[in-house]
């Protein structure tokens, strides 16, 4: 498999992994879906996330000499985490695509009012 | 401790003394550690540049640890100055001594 493809796959695996790990956290699940996840669903995302990161490392090792592959992977993790953080900040709904099996919260007027009150409250 | 009265009267000075001890004292102590380390590892048969590299790497981390430890410390910084300068000098002397025992 050509190196460029392996590199692209490494990046994708790391972004997916970071995305899943982020979505497993309550605060970010709320940003993406408007609600917290059931513990089972969150655990699944954590497992997927961790696995994806390991797969990313294996893909990197397949492309390059070990001394460079490790560096590529560590830096890809950094880039992936940044990408996920920026997505959560500006386009959190895009991350829904990482876990399409999870349903979105139904927005009742009370729920909308509650969440907008939370957003404009004081410092965390 | 009698030093507590000085501490409360000149907190800025104490802080400066602490930072100085961490940076300058830490540097001297790291130098001594590197010199002793290089000489001892060379004597033990390690190749010179390998010994230089390993000692330098550990010495830099040691300087960092000393800096953090001294700034966070509670005792009179004069002890830190004494310990680091004295210890550094002793270690450096050890390094020179070991060097002299090698042909």
């Amino acid at each position: 498999m050509p190196d460029a493809l392996l590199h692209a796959a490494t990046l994708l695996a790391c972004v997916a992994g970071m995305g899943w790990l982020a979505l497993a956290m309550d605060v970010h699940a709320r940003q993406a879906w408007g609600r917290a996840l059931a513990p089972g669903a969150a655990r699944l995302l954590r497992v997927l996330g961790g696995t994806a990161l390991v797969v990313g490392l294996l893909l990197a090792l397949a492309a390059d000499h070990a001394s460079m592959a490790v560096l590529v992977w560590v830096m890809a993790l950094a880039g992936a985490a940044l990408a996920v953080a920026f997505a959560l900040a500006w386009r959190p709904r895009w991350l829904r695509w990482l876990a399409p099996w999870i349903g979105v919260a139904v927005r009742t007027p009370a729920a909308s009012a509650a969440s907008s009150r939370r957003r404009s409250s004081g410092p965390a | 401790m009698s030093a507590t009265s000085i501490r409360s009267r000149h907190p800025r000075l104490q802080l400066a003394a602490r930072v100085g001890a961490g940076v300058v004292g830490g540097y001297v102590f790291a130098w001594g550690f590197i010199a002793a380390g290089m000489a001892l590892m060379s004597k033990a048969g390690m190749e010179f540049h390998d010994a230089e590299f390993v000692a330098s790497a550990l010495g830099l981390l040691l300087w960092l640890a000393v800096l953090l430890g001294v700034v966070a410390g509670r005792r009179n910084p004069a002890w830190a100055w004494l310990g680091l300068l004295g210890g550094g000098a002793l270690l450096a002397a050890l390094g020179s001594f070991v060097q002299s025992t090698m042909a």
Binding site: V74, L77, A81 | H49, L60, L64
Partner: protein, 562 residues
């Protein structure tokens, strides 16, 4: 002293970060640019815009070029007082000839060193360097400033302040401060994992700035730590802890003698003149041996020691293009007969670690993805430090305004200079490089003046416009300098087009990525700076409108009460 460890670390983080953060910004930003230093050189020196070349033939290309080299007359004069007897007209006691190349170098830098007969310190030598076109050996101009590898690169490790190595020391202390700031930052940041992805730009400025500071610091924490640490380590034995050159100099000499004896590589000159066998044949033999070990490769480094002496030897090193180590697998030949003296054995574990740590920092490998990820890491580091300054100012702006203190104002002006000013200085030298006449005497010095002058102008402008900060308001200089960046970052590629004819369509069409890459990066920077300037302008207008509204409401209130 401090209530607890965390408090002590918070103090350390704030004040070491503030004092040395300005230096660190430069180290990270110019370090990020240095990843593509040779590409920037191509942009700045249009005569060198051709494809990278492998190490050329010694017999056909290198030998005549080496034989042409002689030390700079100014250096010869400078050494005269330290020599007993007359200085020779022509220097022939060659200590070494060497050439180093990587997969990114079109032109080749060659180096020579000479022993000086009668020198009081026998170790003191005279040097020269030349730049040649490897395709035909012709000498290229040496007096042009290599803006990438000769300016931005040394800027990041010494601020180009070479007087008594002061710049090295300042950057070294800043690197140590970086390590301290990273560790103390982790101690302070209790919710490190929970807030790993937290960035809330819609919140109050203080919160969103802190979020960004934490984000850029934590996601690239291994990068920041390792680059600061390996940077210190690379210069440790030469500048920061030169134990082997001072206190343990004897041990160093002892090692050299033992190594020479054990491995059959002569230590010094014998004094007996001898010829030079065919070096191309030696290089071919070295490449054959590497291939036999399953690591066929290019020549990265070629050194000839004691040329013309019976003790002379030739060392051929393999370029580490496909791995972390810079060069390796050295193979050494006797210079006068061409017989093999030794093949370097596999490195010791300590040496392998050293190769890895220095190689990961100096990056001579071919891996374009990793290089761009390094740029991302470097810019994240710069962003982390910049947001640190912004947080400091933001937090204290209102308190200082209430007490009439100028502290926040001063830090803010310095922050503008450190962030937008630094970028402006970078653009300033690139623009000057295109605008100045080609044949201007001391062109490199003028370019350097353009750099420092632009930076100084940015500081003056920032200080002049900083009065609002003392009232708790933002400094308009941020927006104004962002516009200036957008302007210059567009001007530079346009000037490149006008002065060299290499516009983007042409360079992209030819696939000449060094120049296309720099032009594209400049345009991207212009877009980012422009959008930041627009947003800052919108915020300023909104704030002004709100303030005007408050005043009219207050005025009406007074009118009613009156």
């Amino acid at each position: 002293m401090f209530q607890n460890f965390r408090q002590a670390m918070a103090w350390l983080h704030t004040w070491f970060g503030l004092v040395l953060g300005f230096v660190l910004m430069a180290a990270f930003f110019f370090g990020a640019l240095s990843v593509f230093d040779r590409e920037i050189d191509r942009w700045a020196l249009p005569a060198t815009r051709f494809e990278p070349q492998p190490m050329p033939s010694f017999e056909r290309v290198l030998r005549p070029a080496f034989e042409r080299l002689q030390p700079d007359p100014a250096l010869v004069e400078a050494m005269r007082p330290r020599v007993d007897g007359p200085m020779p007209e022509r220097f022939d006691r060659i200590a070494y000839w060497s050439a180093y190349t990587t997969h990114r170098d079109p032109v080749l830098a060659i180096y020579a060193g000479w022993e000086v007969p009668g020198a009081r310190d026998p170790d003191e030598q005279l040097y020269a360097l030349g730049t040649i076109d490897p395709r035909d050996g012709s000498a290229l101009r040496d007096d042009q400033l290599k803006i990438g590898s000769g300016f931005f690169y040394p800027m990041h490790y010494s601020l180009t302040v070479d007087w008594k190595n002061l710049g090295f020391w300042i950057v070294g202390l800043a690197a140590m401060a970086m390590l301290a700031a990273l560790v103390s930052g982790v101690v302070m940041h209790r919710r490190l994992f929970r807030e790993l992805f937290t960035f809330r730009p819609d919140r109050a400025r203080l919160r969103s700035v802190l979020d960004l500071h934490n984000l850029t610091g934590v996601v690239a924490l291994p990068f920041h730590f390792f680059f600061a640490f390996t940077g210190l380590l690379i210069f440790a034995s030469t500048y920061y802890f030169p134990v082997g050159h001072t206190q343990l100099h004897d041990l160093h000499e002892l090692h050299e003698k033992h190594e020479a004896a054990a491995l059959g590589l002569p230590h010094g000159r014998s004094g007996v003149p001898a010829g030079l066998a065919n070096v191309d044949a030696m290089v071919a033999e070295a490449q054959r041996r590497w291939e036999a070990r399953g690591m066929a490769g290019d020549v990265g480094f070629l050194v000839l020691q004691h040329v013309g002496d019976a003790n002379g030897y030739v060392s051929v090193y393999r370029a580490g293009t496909d791995r972390i180590a810079l060069v390796g697998q050295g193979i050494h030949f006797k210079a006068d007969t061409g017989e093999l003296l030794r093949e370097d054995p596999p490195a010791t574990p300590a040496a392998r670690v050293a190769e890895f740590l220095t190689g990961l920092h100096l990056q001579h490998f071919r891996h374009w993805l990793l290089r761009w990820l390094y740029v991302l890491g470097g810019l994240s580091g710069a962003a982390c430090i910049a947001t640190g300054f912004l947080f400091f100012v933001e937090k204290r702006k209102r308190q200082h305004a209430a007490r009439g203190s100028q502290g926040a104002r001063i830090v803010d002006a310095l922050a503008v200079a450190a962030v937008t000013g630094m970028v402006l200085a970078t653009l300033g030298i690139l623009v000057a490089n295109r605008v100045l006449p080609e044949d201007l005497a001391g062109r490199g010095d003028w370019e350097r003046w353009a750099f420092w002058g632009t930076w100084l102008a940015s500081l003056v402008h920032a200080a002049w416009r900083s009065a609002p900060v003392a009232r708790g308001l933002p400094n308009p200089a941020w927006r104004e300098q962002a516009w200036a960046i957008a302007l210059l970052a567009v001007a530079a590629p346009v000037l490149n087009w006008i002065t060299t004819g290499d516009h983007l369509l042409r360079t992209l069409g030819q696939g000449y990525w060094p120049v296309a890459g720099v032009d594209l990066s400049l345009l991207a920077a212009a877009m980012i700076a422009g959008s930041v300037a627009v947003r800052l302008g919108r915020k300023a207008r909104a704030a002004a409108a709100a303030a005007a509204l408050r005043e009219t409401a207050a005025g009406q209130g007074e009118a009613v009460h009156a």
